[in-house]
């Protein structure tokens, strides 16, 4: 047993988090920053933070993840990080020549109370910010929220720093894809493209964190939303924001700042959430849905109907980020599966928890939900009554192995497989991939557990 000290008995814990289902804000901000073309994320704190964030993102994407740090030492911690940040800005522009430096704070600089805009202004005054270059920032205190909030905050800062309203509306829709994989962003753009809609997506990590091997390294890969595009978001007709937690703040900020109305919908994971994305886009943009998308939809429904017997009634344990967990829960319920244990580590709030309970209200049997919860509790629930399938990040494989339960990797981080950054799980195609993954997991287990007598050729 790997997690040999996890007991079936649950003792209430108020102070100790064990096996967290979240991490801290800055990494989310770093990930979002990488979705701006030519951007160098910067961690204003101790160098441990950026080292950890770069490592974690690198392990997940198996791609270069560049970022810089203010490299606080004790002195900076006492006297503030202004000198470090000024020096860092100078060095970054001189040595690495980014278009944008995106600064996020850490628990350290937040506790100190460094005023980033003031420091950046000083840097600009001192000529450390070259003409046409940008330094943006967001506040990401590690002791508030989770990596999802960090992503949301940096995404909102893109609006705060760039979005402009010229008064002339463009036939463009802003897409805020949420804290999803690069390929998911690509797929969302493709779907909008099929609808014939011109879009600006931000952030956009596609081609950045799933890039090619060519023998030539590009510090600033092809992908990412450009600053020009970000500016134009203020002139778009509307914004479709996916995932209330990760994308909501930016969408609302854009509405407030530039009067761009927004629709905040679920992440388009699963049939109905994808329906919602497409129907929203269609209505917002006033376009017709092309046959190509309806066809993909039909393929997905076809798989569901063909394989329904294998989904039906299967109990699932689900842990991940709140936007994903909500969309996945709805998806599983739509398959007549039974999400039994649902945890997100992010303190997503009462309203969020209520939404989860609403979605699962007709699921047979008790549905246990904890927001925020940790993976120890999740594991203890499983020990009390097992499930048929686990969905979560790589850490869940320790539970899956101990309890011998089929397991699908989804979410962040996935450290031990490839595919998640190349093959989307959003949209109908992504939904078909998820269906395949669920079926593979369940049917592989059925094959394994069948006696010789029961072993099936056809399924």
């Amino acid at each position: 047993m790997l997690l040999r000290h996890t007991t079936t008995e649950i003792k209430e814990r108020k102070a100790l988090t064990v096996n967290p289902a979240k991490t801290c804000q800055p990494i989310g901000a770093m990930y979002a920053s990488l979705g701006i073309h030519g951007c160098l994320p910067h961690s204003h704190g101790s160098q441990g933070c950026y080292a950890y964030h770069r490592s974690a993102l690198t392990r997940h994407y198996k791609e270069p993840v560049l970022a810089a740090t203010s490299a606080f030492t004790e002195g900076a911690s006492v006297f503030g990080g202004q000198a470090n940040l000024l020096q860092a800005i100078d060095n970054m522009f001189t040595v690495y020549n980014p278009d944008v430096i995106a600064v996020h704070t850490t628990c350290l600089s937040e506790t100190i109370g460094d005023d980033i805009p003031q420091i950046v202004n000083k840097a600009r005054a001192e000529g450390k910010v070259p003409e046409g270059k940008y330094v943006i920032h967001t506040n990401t205190p590690s002791y508030v929220g989770s990596h999802v909030d960090g992503f949301a905050n940096m995404t909102r800062s893109m609006v705060d720093y760039f979005s402009e309203s010229t008064g002339h509306k463009e036939k463009t829709i802003n897409l805020i894809p949420g804290y999803v994989e690069p390929c998911d962003m690509e797929e969302i753009r493709r779907i909008a493209g099929e609808l014939g809609i011109r879009t600006i997506m931000f952030p956009d990590t596609s081609k950045v964190l799933n890039g090619p091997m060519t023998g030539k390294y590009r510090m600033y890969p092809e992908g990412g939303v450009t600053t020009d595009a970000l500016k134009k978001t203020g002139d778009s007709m509307g914004t479709v924001a996916m995932g209330a937690l990760a994308s909501g703040p930016a969408a609302r900020a854009l509405d407030a700042k530039c009067k761009v109305p927004c629709e905040i919908i679920d992440l388009p994971i699963g049939l109905h959430a994808t329906d919602m994305l497409i129907d929203t886009l269609r209505q917002v943009a006033g376009v017709n849905v092309p046959e190509s998308l309806t066809f993909e939809r039909g393929q997905m429904v076809d798989i569901i109907s063909d394989m329904h017997q294998y989904f039906y009634g299967k109990r699932v344990g689900l842990v991940g980020d709140p936007d994903q967990v909500l969309a996945l829960t709805k998806f599983l319920v739509s398959l007549d599966m039974c999400p039994a244990y649902i945890i997100t580590g992010t303190p997503a709030g009462k309203k969020y928890e209520k939404a989860l309970r609403e979605v699962t209200k007709d699921v047979p049997g008790e549905v246990k939900i904890k927001v925020p919860g940790d993976m120890l509790l999740f594991h203890q629930w499983i020990k009390q009554e097992p499930v048929d399938l686990l969905i979560g990040n790589t850490y869940v494989k320790y539970i899956a192995r101990d309890e011998d339960i089929p397991f699908i990797r989804h979410g962040f981080p996935i450290l031990d497989r490839v595919g998640h950054s190349y093959f989307p799980t959003v949209g109908y195609r992504g939904g078909m991939r998820l269906l395949e993954k669920i079926l593979d997991a369940l049917l592989d287990r059925k094959d394994r557990d069948s006696t010789d007598i029961e072993f099936e050729l056809v399924m």
Binding site: T17, P20, G48, C49, S55, T58, T69, G215, Y217, R218
Partner: protein, 553 residues
Amino acid sequence: MAKAAENSEEKFELDGMDPEKIKEELLAKYPTKVARKRAKQIIVNKVGADEEVPVIQSNVRTVPGLISQRGCCYAGCKGVVLGPTRDIVNITHGPIGCGFYSWLTRRNQTDPDTTPDGHNFMPYCFSTDMQDQQIIFGGEKKLKQAIQEAYDNFHPKAIAVFSTCPVGLIGDDVHTVCRQMKEALGINVFGFSCEGYKGVSQSAGHHIANNQIFKHVVGLDNTVGDGEYRINLLGEYNIGGDAFEIDRIFEKCGITVVSTFSGNSSIDKFANSHTADLNLIMCHRSINYVAEMMETKYGVPWIKINFIGAEATAKSLRKIARYFGEQKLTDRVEAVIAEELPAVQAASAEVRPRTEGKRAMLFVGGSRAHHYQELFNELGMETLSAGYEFAHRDDYEGRKVLPTIKVDADSRNIEELEIHPDPERYNPRKSEEDLEELRASGMEFSGYEGMMPTMKNGSLVIDDISQYETETIIETFKPDIFCAGIKEKYIVQKHGIPMKQLHSYDYGGPYAGFKGAINFYKEIDRMVNSKVWGYLKAPWQVNPELAATYAWE
């Protein structure tokens, strides 16, 4: 392994290029202040008489914005030194991130079934998950409660608390909390003031970890166990099972490992470690403090050994045998070497035609950048450039420079324990005469020659290498393999150059000892000869002209 000193006026060549000129290129783009600083950390190696080498500035602050490989003090303390000890509940006191990122991400293997209680908390991540309330009102209460909950849920024999950045700033007194909880729970509870901003790198964390383990654990159990040649292995973290391989060899030789700091370790073994008769140091940087303190307090001498490389392993075993000075052990060690080496030699002979003459670069850690040059040597590969991530001058230049190292402000902040011989337990393992005799025979105690004296003249030695420098030397030399950590992995590979992680071994290993050497040979052969590096160009890029076979009319 030291290279003979050459004419000091000589201009050195490195891979057919002038290393001084390359150094200039590396610095050219930097702002003046940065260039001045980095110039002291980028050294063209030159081994003089008595293995004298140029001074290299190290263990100094990272330049903000320059992008280095380094992590923080917490990482060195919680991640590196204490991480591999299986039976302590290690609680990170701070926001969730620090605990999360150090959760199972180092590949310290551990075998709980060799500890009577079978405790293994390494797959768990414990955190106080500090919230803004604690930042405002202080986190001691939550920490105390967390320790209580850890005890209630897991009943460990020890709990350790690791402070993250805000803890120091808000003034939580973790040591007092630990003392109180130690009393309340009746188990060992101790804390580390290893806030991320302490020192200039992981190195500060190693020191803090060493101090606290020495203060709170070493010496708690005076039982002298069985075994004839009782040693501690220090600075071996059992990445990919290295310590298991070394243990295998020790066992074959009849050498008893009292404790390993800290691969596959148990707190009980630390408590008992002062009863060993010799300390062996693998990673000098991370653990020499413990060795020093143990010698002062208990009289256990230490020697530097190295089990990376088959030759180095053999040499280290012979050194140990020489220390104990018994023919029986010498014979057994020789028998083991004679038994193990043929397979290693066969393996190297098999791959060497494909590795000979290839060129490597190593930028990692505080010892591996040195040790792994042994293995590359055994493959006939040259190390063009190397450097440490968080080492000090002694790791580069040898401990002989220790007296000349100025303690700067960042290091002065790290507690230096004042250690005295234990009134009861101090027990010199060898008489002064024996030691003298051993020294005379070439045995060096408390010594480490450092990396630079073992490298070729003209090699580029770069401390705390930056991303920019990394890219530049890669572009310049196009090495056949580059060794560093996960953050560098894919950057290097995007250049079309295979990259070997020497922190995590790319999830391979073990590479220590004899079997480890064989693993490494095969791995490097695979990497430098992989077909994939020939696939980078598409046919239409190789041969782009349009040849429209059935061209449009």
